[in-house]
């Protein structure tokens, strides 16, 4: 069982020396209990305490790092099976697949294609983070190394899908500094692969004929001292890959079986070859259920827009709602003469409201002030959406840019109208309906 902060605190030296970086031993203990800090950060812990705490506070699932620099990603480290229990901490990462079985032109196409998707959504850069370079034996080692080299130029983290130890070794020579994943160990080659991965300092991917073989191989690798692993859920069938991905994660977190306490790779490109629609469905499925890396044949905007949206939703803190940046968002070609509407910066509210505004076809400006990321009524109750906060935003940000002096406020805070009229002389304050779905008709009537 995990220890709580008080239990950990009891074992600390209680000196408040601040050497761990926390102001007090209590603050440090609480952070360790949350899994936010490691117990070893305390330099004054007795060996006994350290030994018993390390075991008890060790996370059920290891945190594995791949890549370097901007392309460094953290995988695993999850503590729960469902996002409502606690935030999922390590996002699913998406890789595009190239295989040396493809001809050169095709390889170039795929690599070129992997660069295309790159955009920002609610403050997060969305792009293909990884490339899977699959080894096709008939095409030979040289082509593989050449392809790896070419792929490495994109600056994305590589996954080397290669079970041939010699070929892998050659490939690692050209890319190991960028910390790729060497996804090639199984029951037949794990010792050599492990040695190779350890020497190169890279994460090793492990797979097997079935979940039991994977388990045994991981156990054997751990015995060799290699705990820098990722588990490949396999490509035998969709059903089995799903069963493996779910059971690996569940064993680690629910049953505290540390052997399966590693992140996972799911290769949907191989599970549904040449069927981009099925791959889309599977990418979504494995984003929901426990894929740490998902490999796809391609990532066009058609796949990217929904999958990155899903990921952004699933990997949010259930306590902290997503926020949009305060600012003026013109909709339907709204300009300085278009009517202004205001609401909170809670992302869900923003999306619902902006969606309805778009449907109305009426040019307008959606003015979002900082309301602490709360919904309208919650923000109002918490004092984060008040006549003061709105009028300040309008006078400072909106008035210099917008000529229209019509401001529509959410129906749920109709109570602010009088105060706003007093604080915003010259503005006509209009009450919107209480529900966003009524906005379309309301706006059409308003501007009719």
């Amino acid at each position: 069982m995990a220890l709580n902060g008080i239990q950990i605190f009891k074992m600390t030296p209680k000196k408040n020396c601040k050497e761990c970086g926390c102001p007090t031993c209590m603050a440090f203990s609480m952070k360790v209990a949350q899994g936010a800090m490691d117990i070893s950060a305390c330099p004054h812990m007795s060996d006994d305490a350290l030994a018993s705490l390390s075991e008890a506070t060790a996370p059920p699932m290891k945190t594995i790092k791949v890549g370097t620099g901007d392309a460094e990603y953290t995988l695993g480290g999850e503590t729960v099976l469902f996002r409502h229990e606690k935030t999922f901490v390590s996002k699913t990462r998406y890789a595009v697949n190239v295989c040396t079985g493809m001809d050169d032109a095709m390889i170039d196409d795929v690599l070129e294609g992997a660069k295309k998707v790159d955009y920002e959504r609610i403050g997060e850069r969305m792009h293909v983070e990884m490339l899977n370079v699959n080894y096709h034996a008939e095409s030979g080692a040289d082509k593989y190394v050449a392809t790896v080299k070419k792929a490495a130029e994109l600056g994305k983290t590589l996954i080397l899908g290669c079970k041939d130890v010699e070929v892998a070794k050659a490939a690692l020579e050209v890319c190991k500094d960028a910390k790729p994943v060497l996804n090639g160990a199984d029951a037949s080659n794990y010792e050599a692969m492990s040695a190779l991965a350890t020497e190169a300092g890279v994460v090793l991917g492990v797979t097997g004929a079935d979940i039991n073989e994977i388990y045994d191989t991981v156990a054997a690798l751990e015995k060799l001292g290699n705990k820098n692993l990722i588990i490949d859920a396999g490509v035998k069938s969709i059903k089995e890959a799903f069963a493996t991905a779910v059971q690996v994660r569940r064993a680690a977190i629910k049953d505290e079986d540390r052997t399966f306490g590693y992140p996972s790779i799911v290769n949907v490109a191989a599970l549904a070859p040449k069927d981009p629609y099925m791959q889309a469905a599977l990418a979504s499925l494995f984003t929901m259920k426990y894929g740490s890396i998902v490999i796809m044949s391609e990532m066009t905007y058609a796949e990217a827009l929904p999958i990155y949206g899903l990921r952004q939703n699933v990997f949010t803190d259930p306590q902290k709602p997503m926020k949009v940046e305060p600012g003026i968002y013109p909709i339907n070609g709204g300009d300085e003469n278009s009517v202004c509407l205001t609401t909170v910066d809670f992302a869900l509210t923003y999306y619902v409201v902006s969606g309805e505004l778009e449907r109305s076809g009426v040019p307008c400006n959606l003015c979002i002030s900082d309301a602490g990321g709360l919904s309208v009524l919650t923000a109002w109750a918490a004092g984060k959406l008040s006549s003061g906060s709105i009028s300040k935003f309008i006078t400072e940000e909106v008035e210099p840019k917008i000529k229209s002096r019509k401001l529509v406020i959410p129906g749920k805070v109709a109570v602010l109208k009088g105060d706003l009229e007093a604080k915003l002389p010259g503005w006509e304050i209009i009450i919107a309906p209480r529900e966003a779905v009524q906005l379309v008709k309301f706006l059409k009537d308003l501007t009719a």
Binding site: I6, P23, C25, M26, G411, E421
Partner: protein, 708 residues
């Protein structure tokens, strides 16, 4: 006497039925088919009561034998009521015989038997309350006008009106538009035709109540609880009508009559009301029918869009200002007999008599009555007045109790808004929103300065004082139940607040009284009753029942909580808490940080840091979210010694709670000015400085047992 009359009426109808069946058999033969058109339930009443389907005259004859067994003649009320049922079944038999050979015994405007399809269609609005009741009017009113007025009064309320006998001709005489579409259904002239509305109620029980045919008990329960029907029978009431009425009563339908001769009232069942104009009110009250108010009768608009409207001095027709003159608003619960529903009285001059822009007195008392009304709900209703009155276009309201200010704009006045309209709004909103507990409501509006002064001091202030006393005397020990609150589970899935009188919800917004009212008004809603019958450790505040409730409402995420400890199974926090308290190990105490405080605490954690580890419905021993009000509670971490553990609070918070906290500390420990011993950010933001301060002040926590 009443019972004998019923027996005699029943015997008469039985005799008629027997004769009619025998004659029909003689005419058509025993195998002749018998039944009503467009129903799958044969003779629905008989089928529902016995589970037997009657299809031929022979079977009808046998059924009559069964009916005979109901006609026991002990001189008891129940025998009389069963004879009433027997009378109804006989009526059904007689009516069925009329339909032999596909005959159409009823013609315009009478309907006679109603098809199953109509019942399926009627059942839905009956279930939703769109048809709030079913009136059965029998006989002829003293005058046609009185009869039609009664019918129209029901029609205006959306009640389905069925007519039997002379009332039909009275309606025809005055040209009343009748028919199923306008919810006025003449059944027939014979008293036996009343069975067609009974048949509607009974088939509704079979279709909508899943009552099994033959389950007479289930049937009677359904009709009495779920079919809001009642009977208005005009005099003279003969024995046959009385016997049929007994059947209605057995089904749970009260009978209201203007007959006063040879009749004995049965409370709630057979009611004498000599004044026909009061039939409507008497009937609705007897059957507990509540009419939804869909439109508030005022000359200006009513909408939440007007809630924030500000009426400036220059736009003001008149102002009632509780800070200058005597004003008040008050809800009082009364006995039902003291209230005439929807009576709105204005006592004193109306707005017309006030000088434009002047300050005047006003006092309005909303009197309510209801079987489930409790005086604890009075402040809950009263707190809504502000929003109700503000939603009126052109009216502004601030404050509460006897510190209110109401402004009426010139525009509203010009549109015809007067004092009584305030009453209309309060009446309509209270009746609609608190339908579950308010049966009757009337409003008195006083505009005389003398009245307002007198009532404010003699009625309102004592009432407010009494309430405050009740609140301050309300302790966890003095109540039998607590309430759960899961309003914030949307954000904090496994969190459950246990709301007790001394520990309001940690958001600070839900008191025990609020939770109680929420539960009464919305029984399936977010606040549920938690019993406290199985204590485990009362000093910790742990109860088996509380644990069970917490487990249930958190969907198993939490196993147990204590009410008064922050160390052992502390209550969880959602995320909307006003404050967090956390253990400060170096002083044996706790610090408290409130949401508004943005600085550092001596724990080395800021409010957001503390919040991130205590929120989300997770139990974090040593840390707990709570409301500001809870800080001065005698139950605040009682298990660890109570408020004397508090060693640090942000200055602003300390000042807010100082008076009440000092009072508690004095009462519990005899410490004067306890807050002077408590640190704040101007004194210390780290544990060492804090402990030095506490030592200097001699803070009691330093000498208490260690908390861990």
């Amino acid at each position: 006497m009443l019972i004998n009359r019923i027996f005699s009426g029943n015997d008469a109808v039985y005799g008629l039925t027997e004769g009619a069946i025998d004659q029909a058999i003689a005419q058509h033969g025993a195998e002749k088919a018998v039944g009503f058109p467009n129903t799958a339930y044969c003779l629905p009443c008989y089928y529902a009561v016995t589970g037997v389907k009657v299809k031929t005259l022979q079977e009808l004859k046998e059924a009559l034998g069964v009916v005979k067994t109901l006609m026991t003649r002990n001189h008891e009320l129940d025998d009389a009521l069963m004879s009433g049922v027997a009378t109804a079944l006989c009526a059904e038999f007689i009516e069925a015989l009329k339909y032999i050979d596909g005959a159409t015994p009823y013609e315009e405007p009478c309907y006679g038997h109603l098809a199953d399809a109509i019942i399926r269609e009627l059942g839905v609005p009956l279930v939703t309350g769109d048809i709030p009741g079913v009136a059965v009017i029998l006989g002829a009113a003293p005058t046609a006008q009185e009869g039609v007025d009664l019918v129209k009064s029901y029609q205006a309320q959306g009640i389905l009106v069925t007519l039997v006998g002379g009332i039909i001709d009275q309606c025809k005489e005055l040209g009343l538009n009748m028919g199923y579409g306008v919810r006025i259904v003449p059944l027939g002239y014979d008293v036996t035709s009343v069975i067609h509305v009974v048949s509607v109620a009974i088939r509704a029980a079979l279709i909508f109540g899943n009552v099994t045919p033959g389950d007479a008990g289930g049937l009677l329960t359904y009709t009495s609880q779920r079919v809001p029907a009642f009977v208005n029978a005009f005099k003279p009431i003969d024995d046959v009508i009385l016997a049929a009425g007994a059947g209605a009563i057995k089904l749970g339908f009260p009978v209201i009559s203007n007959e006063t001769e040879n009749i004995v009232e049965v409370p709630g069942a057979l009611i004498a009301q000599p004044d026909v104009s009061k039939f409507n009110a008497t009937s609705l009250e007897a059957r507990n029918i509540k009419i939804k108010i869909t439109k508030i009768d005022i000359p200006v608009a009513f909408a939440s869009a007007f809630e924030g409207e500000i009426i400036r001095r220059g736009d003001m027709q008149v102002e009632f200002d509780g800070s200058r003159v005597d004003c008040f608003e008050l809800v009082q619960s009364k006995d039902a007999s003291e209230i005439e529903d929807h009576k709105i009285e204005v006592i004193g001059p109306d707005f017309d008599e006030f000088e434009v822009g002047s300050k005047q007195s006003i006092g309005y008392i909303v009197e309510v009555a209801g079987k489930n009304m409790q005086s604890d709900f009075e402040p809950v209703f009263e707190r809504k007045f502000h929003s109700y009155i503000n939603c009126i276009e052109g009216i502004m309201h601030t404050g509460q109790r006897d510190m209110i200010r109401v402004r009426v704009s010139k525009d509203a006045y010009a549109a015809g808004f007067r004092a009584k309209h305030i009453g209309e709004v309060l009446y309509a909103k209270i009746k609609n929103e608190f339908e579950a507990v308010v049966d009757k409501c009337q409003v008195k509006i006083y505009t005389n300065a003398e009245d307002c002064t007198k009532l404010r001091h003699e009625l309102a202030i004592p009432a407010f004082d009494k309430r405050d006393d009740r609140l301050s005397n309300l302790t966890d020990e003095s109540v039998d139940v607590y309430y759960s609150c899961i309003l914030c589970q949307a954000f904090s899935p496994s969190h459950v607040c246990v709301v007790t009188p001394e520990r309001l919800g940690l958001c600070g917004a839900v008191s025990w009284l609020d939770a109680k009212a929420t539960n009464e008004l919305d029984p399936a809603g977010p606040c549920q009753v938690i019993t406290k019958e199985k204590p485990i450790d009362e000093s910790l505040g742990s109860y088996e029942d509380v644990n069970e409730a917490v487990k249930k409402f958190s969907q198993g995420a939490l196993e147990k909580v204590t009410l008064y400890s922050i160390m052992q199974d502390p209550m969880t926090s959602c995320g909307c808490f006003e404050c967090i308290c956390g253990i400060e190990p170096f002083s044996n105490g706790v610090i408290i940080a409130n949401r508004e405080y943005s600085g550092m605490t001596p724990l080395g954690m800021t409010f957001p840091e503390l919040a991130s580890m205590t929120g989300g419905g997770v139990q974090t021993p040593g840390f707990m979210g709570h409301g500001k009000h809870f800080i001065s509670s005698k139950k605040f971490m009682k298990a660890e010694g109570g408020v004397e553990r508090i060693v640090w609070m942000p200055k602003e918070l300390k000042e807010t709670v100082a008076d009440r906290l000092n009072e508690t500390a004095k009462e519990l420990y005899g410490i004067e000015n306890f807050t002077d011993m408590i640190g704040d950010e101007t004194i210390a933001e780290d544990p060492e400085t804090l402990v030095a301060f506490l030592t200097e002040k001699g803070h009691p926590a330093l000498n208490l047992e260690p908390m861990m």
